[in-house]
């Protein structure tokens, strides 16, 4: 497979993956451009890998984990920015406003997680990979994956509980 063929067939998916991973369109663009520019230069070597796709995904994740620029301050998407998109993605039968608020709040809290924890959640719940595959991608042990996932979920739940307490206080 040539680099051009790879780009033609995989770029859209890689961009979605990077966007969800980073939560930031500009950062996703920077990372994918950077990684694929490097991949293009050494494409002959990459094609010898078992799976060029897995290799490039790993490069994207590594780039995200090692990205030095402070991007947290840019990661301030307006809450409710894409309510319609989220609404479409949510199941029916519940109060939509409540669902949307919940989704927005969860997305905002995901942005506060350490990058490795976020990466684990993206790979597990978005890419729906098992822990062994995630461990392979992140070059760590499966137990580390489980530990990161557990910490991330705990942080998300704690934040959620804290927010509930604040709301209860406000209602009193």
């Amino acid at each position: 497979m040539t680099f051009e063929e790879f780009i033609a067939s995989r770029l859209t998916d890689l961009l979605r993956h990077a966007a969800v991973l980073t939560g930031d369109r500009d950062l996703a663009q920077d990372i994918v451009q950077e990684v694929l520019a490097r991949a293009q230069v050494k494409w002959r070597r990459i094609t010898h890998a078992d799976s060029p796709d897995a290799y490039v995904r790993r490069m994207i994740i590594n780039e995200y984990l090692s990205w030095r620029r402070s991007w947290a301050s840019r990661n301030v998407h307006a809450v409710g920015e894409r309510l319609a998109a989220i609404a479409d993605a949510r199941r029916v039968g519940r109060d939509h406003a409540q669902d949307l608020a919940e989704s927005d709040e969860l997305w905002r809290r995901l942005a506060t997680l350490p990058r490795k924890q976020r990466a684990v959640l993206v790979l597990r719940y978005y890419e729906q990979l098992d822990d062994a595959a995630i461990a392979d991608l992140l070059d760590c042990a499966p137990v580390t994956v489980r530990s990161n996932a557990s910490k991330a979920l705990k942080s998300l739940r704690l934040a959620s509980e804290q927010q509930l307490r604040v709301r209860e206080k406000e209602l009193r």
């Binding site: 990077a18 500009d26 995901l110």
Partner: protein
């Protein structure tokens, strides 16, 4: 799948819309790959010079070379599990030369460029797109990418400077003749002044017609100094946003303009709007605030301190209410002064 798992899956999927535009990313990849290829070539040439320079140089460089050789051996094909997260361009200097990045063919590029100019876009528009698409120092690639998008039926995030549909095939040929002779956008601006034409576009067409007819132009190709700082799109963006705010526009205006221009990123809207203001054009809405005089160096430092601490325009609006100040602008200055003095603000960034 539990409810929590499902919710996470759906929240991630609902944000797939953040994926960048593939056409722009492809152009960006070409842009960066060319830079890497040039760097590799330079590094290989430098490597040859180092080898020729003898033992002293090799002795000094030895630890570096050893480290990179080691990296190279672990980041290759056998070690699929560990592509290097950075420094590939450097470490690959010891590998065999890779093929140069293959840009789109010259016919495709020409077709894209023709489409770009035929739609009424020009160099100045390409500069704006370069800022929006983060493709520093590569306006030609921006024009090609924009043309590719137009050919694919997509729209660009800015409107063309020249009226759309007014460009005939003959005018495209004239413009091409103008640029092929080595003339630049700045030359066209100069000629527009000399010939008393309304804009650079008309100068390009007239200039091209004269060149095709075998005439010479009153200035030499590339003889006009650049009126635009082309080396730093980030600098252009900063200047544009400063002009935007100084004209009295604010975040809420940017949101209105975003709707009018069908753009989603308020920062990009402010950049484009600021560039239009700098070019002497008017915006389709009036500013919400009053135009401010250029901030002093101290005020600029205060505002920088405010934003560098992670605060946003909304925070400034909140602080203005808390401190009963006239507007968010004054809140930014007051807050910045406090931050520089080591004080904390009553709200978190």
């Amino acid at each position: 799948m539990s409810d929590e798992d499902e919710l996470l899956h759906e929240v991630f999927r609902a944000h797939e819309y953040l994926a960048p535009d593939p056409v722009v990313v492809r152009a960006g990849i070409r842009n960066r790959a060319r830079a890497y290829a040039r760097r590799r070539k330079a590094a290989q040439a430098a490597g040859g010079a180092v080898l020729g320079a003898g033992l002293v140089t090799v002795g000094v460089a030895a630890p570096y070379v050893a480290r990179n050789t080691s990296n190279h051996s672990t980041s290759g094909v056998a070690a699929l599990g560990a592509p290097s997260s950075s420094g590939d361009a450097t470490s690959s200097t010891v590998s065999s030369p890779a093929p140069l990045p293959s840009p789109v063919s010259s016919e495709e590029a020409q077709r894209a460029l023709d489409a770009y100019f035929a739609a009424g876009y020009d160099y100045n528009d390409a500069m704006q797109l370069a800022v929006l698409w983060k493709m520093p120092n590569d306006v030609p690639t921006v024009k090609t990418a924009a043309g590719e998008k137009l050919l694919a039926g997509d729209t660009l995030p800015i409107k063309p400077s020249s009226p759309q549909g007014s460009t005939s095939a003959a005018e495209v040929d004239d413009t091409n003749a103008f640029f092929n002779a080595g003339y630049t956008y700045d030359d066209a601006l100069k000629l527009a002044q000399l010939w008393n034409l309304p804009d650079a576009y008309h100068a390009k067409v007239s200039g091209g017609q004269k060149l095709i007819a075998g005439q010479t132009l009153p200035i030499k190709p590339g003889s006009t100094p650049s009126s635009i700082e082309t080396t730093s799109p980030a600098g252009i963006a900063d200047s544009a946003r400063t002009a935007y705010f100084n004209a009295g526009y604010d975040y809420s205006d940017a949101m209105q303009l975003a709707k009018l221009w069908n753009m989603t990123d308020p920062t990009a809207v402010k950049t484009v709007a600021g560039q239009k203001l700098l070019a002497g054009q008017h915006l389709p809405i009036k500013p919400s605030g009053t135009p401010v005089t250029t901030p002093s160096a101290d005020e600029t430092a205060d505002i920088d301190a405010f934003f560098n601490a992670g605060y946003t325009y909304n925070d400034a609006a909140q602080l203005a209410t808390l401190w009963k100040l006239a507007d968010p602008y004054h809140a930014k200055i007051t807050a910045g002064q406090k931050l520089i003095a080591g004080e904390t603000l009553p709200i978190k960034p």
